[in-house]
């Protein structure tokens, strides 16, 4: 194939929260719940992606609670995709911009093409389209904003819903006291290794905004497919007080329920590894979805998390991959 300059965008890291772009690309005008983790996440992603961006919004909270007709919160172009096909619609958009650029019908910078998919739209019903997009090597950032359930339909279990969660499809009862009996899928691991053109995968938490914004920028600077698994606590689905969204995002890291890392050209870089992990109970006790669990269930969760922590410790060489969070005064 002939070489062609598509004018791909490249971004510098954001050095501090203060130096983050002032302009917002995800603005008020939506109907998300108070304390919505995915909405805050959207704002941060859109802010650092900037104006030359196209969002693909598969059905999910960030579609249903955001995109009221004639009143959407996106200051950049946005297109709805079915919950099934975020990766495929994004592939078509990317293909269109490539051919339009080659034919001289478009001469701007190559747009940031970002799929903002929920956990169901990423690794359940949307998995096939996401995988194929990455396999084919489209220059698309696929984001899984993980609120750990099918939330806008009334909190049903998804493949990333944690063990023991009470959802409307996994209600605890006499026969099934723990509610959800399965442990979650691991989205980054589904994509890492199986997609030769995928070069960058990272995890984030809304509680670590600088880390988050820089991972977005890094992902967008790659000239191929990238994937971010973004923890976005959900007050409604997890049943915690809406003022605790950031706290949940922190406790997830501090207990080892979630870890922050980058996978770049085959190597893992972990950041924000706690010196001493808190017990998972510290995280779970704030969340109504775990309230019914007995001690043996919490012990089972702890054992699952301990195993994850062992893996982190084994693989981790803590490095400052991206600028760290500013220290508290």
């Amino acid at each position: 194939m002939k070489a062609f300059d598509y004018k791909f965008q490249h971004f510098d890291p954001v050095k501090s929260l203060k130096s983050a772009p002032k302009s917002e690309m995800y603005v008020p005008g939506h109907r998300t719940c108070a304390g919505c983790g995915p909405a805050l996440n959207y704002r941060l992603v859109a802010k650092v992606a900037g104006r030359d961006t196209i969002f693909i919004g598969p059905t999910g909270c960030m579609y249903v609670a955001n995109s009221s007709y004639l009143c959407t919160p996106y200051a950049v172009s946005w297109i709805h995709a079915q919950i099934t096909n975020g990766g495929a619609v994004a592939s078509g958009i990317e293909a269109a911009y490539k051919v339009l650029a080659r034919k001289g019908k478009y001469d701007g910078p190559f747009p940031n093409i970002i799929v903002m998919a929920g956990d169901g739209g990423s690794v359940d019903i949307g998995l096939q389209a996401a995988s194929a997009m990455m396999y084919r090597g489209h220059k698309v950032l696929f984001i899984c904003y993980d609120n750990e359930s099918y939330a806008n339909t009334g909190i049903q279990t998804s493949p990333t819903t944690p063990y023991g969660a009470n959802t409307t499809f996994t209600p605890p009862g006499k026969e099934i006291p723990e509610g959800k009996t399965l442990f979650p899928k691991d989205p980054p691991q589904l994509f890492i290794g199986g997609h030769p053109l995928l070069k960058y995968v990272a995890t984030t938490s809304v509680a670590y905004p600088l880390d988050l914004m820089n991972k977005v920028r890094k992902a967008l600077s790659y000239e191929g497919p990238t994937f971010l698994h973004m923890l976005t606590p959900c007050p409604k689905g997890w049943q915690f007080s809406e003022k605790l969204t950031i706290e949940m995002g922190k406790l997830a890291i501090e207990t080892g329920m979630w870890s922050l890392y980058e996978w770049e050209n085959g190597a893992y870089k972990y950041t924000h590894i706690p010196k001493k992990y808190k017990p998972v109970g510290e995280y779970m006790k704030h969340q109504g979805r775990f309230r019914h669990l007995k001690e043996e269930h919490i012990a089972k969760m702890q054992a699952f998390v301990d195993e994850k922590i062992q893996k982190v410790k084994a693989a981790a060489k803590p490095v400052e991959a991206v600028p760290a969070e500013p220290k508290k005064n």
Binding site: R51, D52, T53, I54, I56, Y63, V64, S67, S68, Y69, L70, C71, T72, Y74, A75, V76, S77, W78, I79, H80, A81, Q82, T84, N85, G87, A88, V89, A90, S91, G92, I93, E94, A95, A96, Y97, K98, V99, L100, R102, K103, K105, G108, P109, P111, Q128, A129, S131, A132, Y135, R136
Partner: protein, 395 residues
């Protein structure tokens, strides 16, 4: 000017798509339409066609990819057959409702079970209520022509609708016939470049497909319905221009073959019309006033034209080539809308339906002779004694 070649229906489609300068192509293999994509893949590989060739991971993805491409202002094509057409089902309404004028090129095939490679119209006919423009070609030449006409009609700013250009699997898709391949200048005269009115772009941000309130639903549905009222006029214009530029003689909606004084008529779409035409000639030689009405576009359905051109016929038999289990007439699809189109006439023709060409079976001359006998008996009896005949199973 036109260059005459022996081409299969699949090659004819690929040649027309090349001349239409399609920009995004999304493939997935399923027989028999696959050959269209194979030819397009070669054209892209050889540098004859500057397009993005995306290997979809299934038909659902195929339609999703072309949706995204069309939303950005690229001319996009995909295609399928049989269960591939039904696997993609979620996307038909978003494509039509989103007013993305993509083209889906179909070489039709039976649905499962059981697995069968044969031609049947049931696959694409199942999409008829989703707001697409749908029509069957009856020769490789018409495949070529409908491909260009499809884009012209669908991309018309008054219309903006996706098109399903269908051909019968194997009968048309894999049997070569003479095709006049138009020149690029002819195509350019007929088909202006695609221009999306509100593309997904970075220069003018837009939102496509936000949620609406229930009270906003009906007005949008009504708008789509109104577009279908405008569609016949646009099809007439496009057909007239096409006939002028390419030297053809298409009727926009119905091929009317020896219908003027016909007492009995076959109502048909697609490949079997070629045998049907021969049957009509044979019957005429025997002194039977037979004719044929061939549907060119099943969506939009040409209600008025049917009433005008078939009202005088005494008995009409539909050749169904698709199934509608449990439907009003217990047979195929065409009979329902044919009868509805004739309902307001003071004197209505009698009708019956013939389930023929299912599973990829050939509809033979003798079959048409049998059908003619049934229709003649119907005329004689002045009533329809049986609404459905399963051809090949009748005594």
């Amino acid at each position: 000017m036109a260059d005459e070649k022996m081409l299969t229906g699949c090659s004819a489609a690929a040649q027309a798509l090349k001349l239409a300068e399609v920009e995004v192509i999304c493939s997935y293999p399923i027989r028999p339409y696959t050959a269209i994509m194979m030819e397009l893949a070669k054209m892209v590989a050889n540098g004859e066609l500057d397009a993005e060739f995306v290997h979809g991971e299934g038909e659902h993805a195929q339609l999703s990819v072309v949706l995204g491409a069309s939303a950005c202002g690229a001319r996009a094509v995909t295609g399928s057959a049989g269960v591939g057409v039904t696997y993609a089902f979620e996307l038909y309404s978003p494509l039509a409702g989103g007013r993305y004028p993509v083209q889906m090129t179909i070489a039709d095939r039976t649905l499962d079970p059981p697995g069968d490679f044969g031609s049947e119209h049931t696959d694409a006919m199942s999409v008829r209520d989703q707001g697409w423009i749908i029509g069957w070609a009856s020769t490789p030449q018409e495949v070529f022509d409908n491909t260009l006409m499809g884009y012209r009609i669908g991309e018309d700013p008054r219309i903006m609708l996706p098109q399903m250009t269908c051909q019968d699997g194997y009968f048309i898709s894999h049997i070569p016939d003479k095709v006049k391949v138009a020149s690029l200048s002819q195509v350019k005269e007929f088909l202006p470049p695609y221009s999306a009115p509100h593309p997904i772009s970075t220069t003018c941000p837009v939102s496509h497909g936000p949620q609406i309130r229930p009270d906003q639903g009906a007005p949008m549905d009504a708008q789509r319905a109104e577009t279908f009222l405008e569609l016949p006029g646009v099809i007439k214009e496009a057909t007239k221009d096409f006939n002028r530029i390419f030297g053809r003689n298409y009727d926009p909606f119905l091929e009317k073959y020896r219908l003027e004084d016909a007492e009995i008529a076959f109502f048909i779409q697609g490949a079997h019309s070629n045998t049907c035409r021969m049957a009509v000639d044979a019957l005429r030689k025997q002194g039977v006033k037979a004719g044929m009405s061939r549907l060119r576009w099943v969506r939009p359905w040409p209600t008025t034209e049917i009433a005008e051109s078939l009202g005088h016929v005494k008995a009409i038999g539909t050749i169904e080539t698709s199934t509608s289990y449990g439907g009003a007439m217990r047979g195929g699809n065409l009979i329902h809308e044919l009868r509805a189109s004739l309902y307001d006439l003071d004197e209505r023709p009698l009708t019956t339906s013939f389930m023929a060409g299912l599973g990829g079976e050939t509809v033979w001359l003798e079959d048409f002779e049998f059908m003619a006998k049934v229709l003649l008996q119907t005329v004689k009896d002045k009533r329809t004694s049986k609404y459905v005949y399963w051809i090949g199973f009748e005594d």
